[in-house]
């Protein structure tokens, strides 16, 4: 390519305390290109982006803009130069409206007052180009995560942007929103904007990126033209070894395997109506559907995390879980899809986080710090958490490693039914594979697994049966063998719909 790079980093290193997490990395972005950064969790992708956009200062090396070394004392300075970062974690103010967030700190003024009208019009236009239908006067608190992400993107492109850094932007987006985002990316690059793009979804990178830089443990492995690599080669270079099959073998569920969890006619007001399903020991039940179909709410309702009515049976015994603790005592555990807001105490250390849900095992009656520490060390080992020091706050971990801590916390309660809600969101391929094989081990132990996921390949790769939801109702329960994505999507979009199954033996008694 003939273009000179707009922005480059030369020999960038970064340490947090005594630990260097990025070692002399070179990277450059050219106008009009999409440059992807890939690497395992904790490889330093977010850190590299933050160095380039003024959020962190490098310990060595320099940032070069238009051929001249620059130093951005903070992110505002970088934004003034047209370098904007969209964070991995949402960075909006929940109690402000969409419009107030988009123009936060640079509100248009007229006669000395904020020009609400102008700000609203501009925001509405931006959102229209992003085909995101949210009222500009709605509070961000009341948006879904994917809507909030679109607002975040709108906010970023509302400025004069020359280099747009996006850290796992599609993590929380639906397929359609991802398409919209890619359209936007193509428009921006056509205008000469450079895009730096982090994602764990390698197929996305194949679709959208021109070049890719691979990081491993803070070292740069190389920069390649995307056309020169297959996803498998990319994955191999990321993890430094050959990745065999992504999914464990799917052992057949024994015919006599008892039903572990059975939900019948569950209503979650406003979200789900009349949902019935069952999962047996040693079985993975996949839950597919579009974002907003009510998959999360269905299980939150069943587990006492939100109001619901209907019948639930655990191991054949009718149960009534009014509070998550009731479900925990019946050895049912739910992994939240929202690890930042519901899964982790970001300001607390790893030890306190990992034992939080099973504290009764460590405090009899007094907390036993050494046992907790051992539990943490065991979890770090078992889930392969990549962290240099164990005494850091949970918020200092990279996204994928945070997810492993949440999973470890859940498994310390020794559940025999686990409900995993988007368990691989923001997780690198190598770790995904570890989690899939971990699910395989759970099955061998006779655990029943419910897998809620928007990633169809993993649902198809793991699930014995797939329940598909559309608009708060179950549209079909499909046999996992020989199932393909098109069929699932037909049910997920409501194009196909099976009659409500009459297969559940006990007829409902209406009172």
């Amino acid at each position: 390519m003939a273009h000179e790079p707009i922005l480059s980093g030369i020999g960038l290193s970064k340490s947090f305390g005594p630990i260097e997490v990025l070692h002399a990395v070179d990277v450059d972005v050219r106008p009009g290109e999409v440059h992807a950064l890939v690497g395992e969790n904790g490889a330093g992708k977010s850190t590299l982006m933050k160095l380039l956009s003024g959020y962190h200062q490098p310990n060595a090396g320099e940032v070069v803009l238009d051929g001249r070394p620059v130093r951005f004392p903070d992110s505002n300075a970088a934004e003034a130069a047209g370098i904007v970062l969209i964070h991995q974690e949402l960075n909006l103010v929940p109690d402000l409206t969409v419009e107030e967030n988009v123009f936060l700190g640079r509100e248009p003024h007229r006669f000395g007052l904020v020009d609400r009208g102008a700000a609203r019009r501009a925001t509405a236009e931006l959102l229209a180009t992003l085909r995101t239908e949210v009222p500009v006067t709605r509070r961000v608190r009341d948006l879904s995560v994917s809507q909030a992400q679109m607002v975040e993107i709108a906010k970023a492109v509302s400025r004069e942007v020359r280099v747009l850094c996006m850290d796992e932007p599609t993590d929380v987006l639906t397929g359609r929103e991802t398409e919209v985002l890619f359209d936007l990316v193509r428009r921006l690059t056509a205008d000469g904007v450079a895009i730096l793009y982090v994602s764990h979804k390698l197929d996305e990178i194949m679709t959208i990126a021109d070049r890719v830089t691979i990081l491993r443990d803070g070292h740069k492995i190389g920069t390649f033209d995307v056309g020169d690599l297959t996803p498998a080669e990319m994955a191999r270079r990321m993890v430094g070894r050959e990745l065999a099959d992504m999914y464990p073998p799917k052992p057949a569920v024994p015919d006599d395997a008892p039903v572990a969890l059975e939900i019948e006619g569950l209503d979650v007001p406003g979200f789900v109506h009349g949902a019935s399903l069952r999962v047996r020991r040693g079985e993975v039940l996949g839950i597919a559907g579009l974002v907003g179909a009510g998959r999360t709410e269905l299980f939150e309702g069943a587990l006492g995390l939100r109001p619901a009515h209907g019948s639930v049976r655990k191991d054949g015994r009718p149960v009534r879980w009014r509070h998550p603790e009731d479900a925990k005592l019946d050895r049912v555990a739910y992994l939240t899809e929202d690890r930042k807001a519901k899964g982790l105490l970001l300001g607390k250390n790893l030890r306190e986080n990992v034992v939080l849900q099973s504290l009764e095992r460590f405090a009899r009656p007094f907390v036993h710090l050494r046992a907790e520490q051992q539990a943490l060390e065991g979890a770090v080992e078992e889930f392969d958490v990549r962290v240099a020091r164990l005494d850091v706050e949970a918020g200092a971990l990279s996204g994928g490693n945070q997810q492993k801590i949440v999973l470890a916390k859940l498994m310390l309660t020794e559940p025999d039914v686990v409900i995993l809600d988007e368990p691989t969101r923001g997780i690198d391929v190598g770790t995904k594979r570890q989690i899939y094989f971990y699910v395989g081990e759970l099955l061998a132990k006779g655990v029943a697994v419910v897998l809620i996921s928007s990633e169809l390949p993993e649902v198809l790769g793991l699930a014995h049966r797939v329940v598909v939801m559309h608009d708060g109702a179950i549209t079909g329960t499909l046999d996992g063998a020989g199932l393909d994505e098109e069929t699932v999507m037909a049910y997920a979009t409501g194009l196909r719909r099976d009659p409500p199954p009459a297969t559940l033996e006990s007829p409902r008694v209406h009172t």
Binding site: S15, F16, G17, P18, S46, Y55, H56, Q57, N59, D74, S75, H87, E89, N91, L305, H323, P324, E325, A327, K328, Y334, T336, A341, K342, G343, L344, L345, L346, G347, K348, E352, L356, Q357, L359, E360, A363, P365, F366, V367, G395, A396, K409, T413
Partner: protein, 335 residues
Amino acid sequence: MSTPETVAAPSWRARLRRVPWQQLTPLAGLVLLVIVGSLMHPAFLTSTNLFNVLTRSAFIGIIAVGGTFVIIGGGIDLSVGSMAAFLSGAMILLMNALYGGTISPVGVVLIGVGLVLGSGLLAGAANGLAITRGRIEPFIVTLGTLGIFRSLVTYLADGGTISLNFALRGVYRPVFYGSFLGVPIPVWAFAVVAVLGAILLHRTRFGRYVRAIGSNQEVARYAAIRVARVRTLTYVIQGLCVAIAVVLYVPRLGSASASTGILWELEAIAAVIIGGTALKGGSGHIWGTVVGAIMLSLIGNVLNLTSAISEYLNGTVQGLIIIGAVFLQRGRQGR
């Protein structure tokens, strides 16, 4: 993760940074006050004076131990001063009514103490349940009960003063004025409450849950913690602590009136905050609160002993120190 990091420091600096300065600030303040005090007046460093200071700090200190639980749990209790006044008044009336019957004076006092402790629990539970079951902001609920308790004591006293029967005073007096092994009883009580509070907060499941809830209630709920129950219990503990303070306070003056316990809520919250507990909840230490309570009463004492500043300005100095303490904490948190 989004906080801008300063350039990494050489290792000695990194090590210095790992010292929990923030937790040591209150202690440093206390040491400073003692030094200032002893320089300003020779009588300051006598054991009589210091025990006097500690005894005075016991009321606020004990209440503040309860307040530490409430605040770490993400709540606030503004009603403690009025609650103390109401419990004092009710206790005196009850003991006076029982006196002269078949029960011995000691028995009367014991019944009074038992009833105050029970009522403290109930009053705290009322606050807690209104907040958790009624889903009302703690600030609003306890502002309401602040008014209610205050008016109840005024009503009981009929606008005047409720005085304890003289014979009972004689029996009850030692609880405040007596001492054990040379240390005044209220100081013992303060120490015991603080130690029990510290064990509960730092060494038990309950304490861990309180901190988890204060740092993120949703995370706690998803971790199968009974959030409402734990939060309610923090207010119950607060009520019990107020009752203990009342048990020590009544024999001091032998009376209660509409002005009993005025502004105690401010002093108690101040002690908690000076002690390094985050007002937004999630983290804090009982020993910090103890230091905070002692500091507040030391300030009064130093002003009393010296004539540099009028003792009427006690409130001003305390206020400045509270604001200063929070400012220092903020600075340390780096934002």
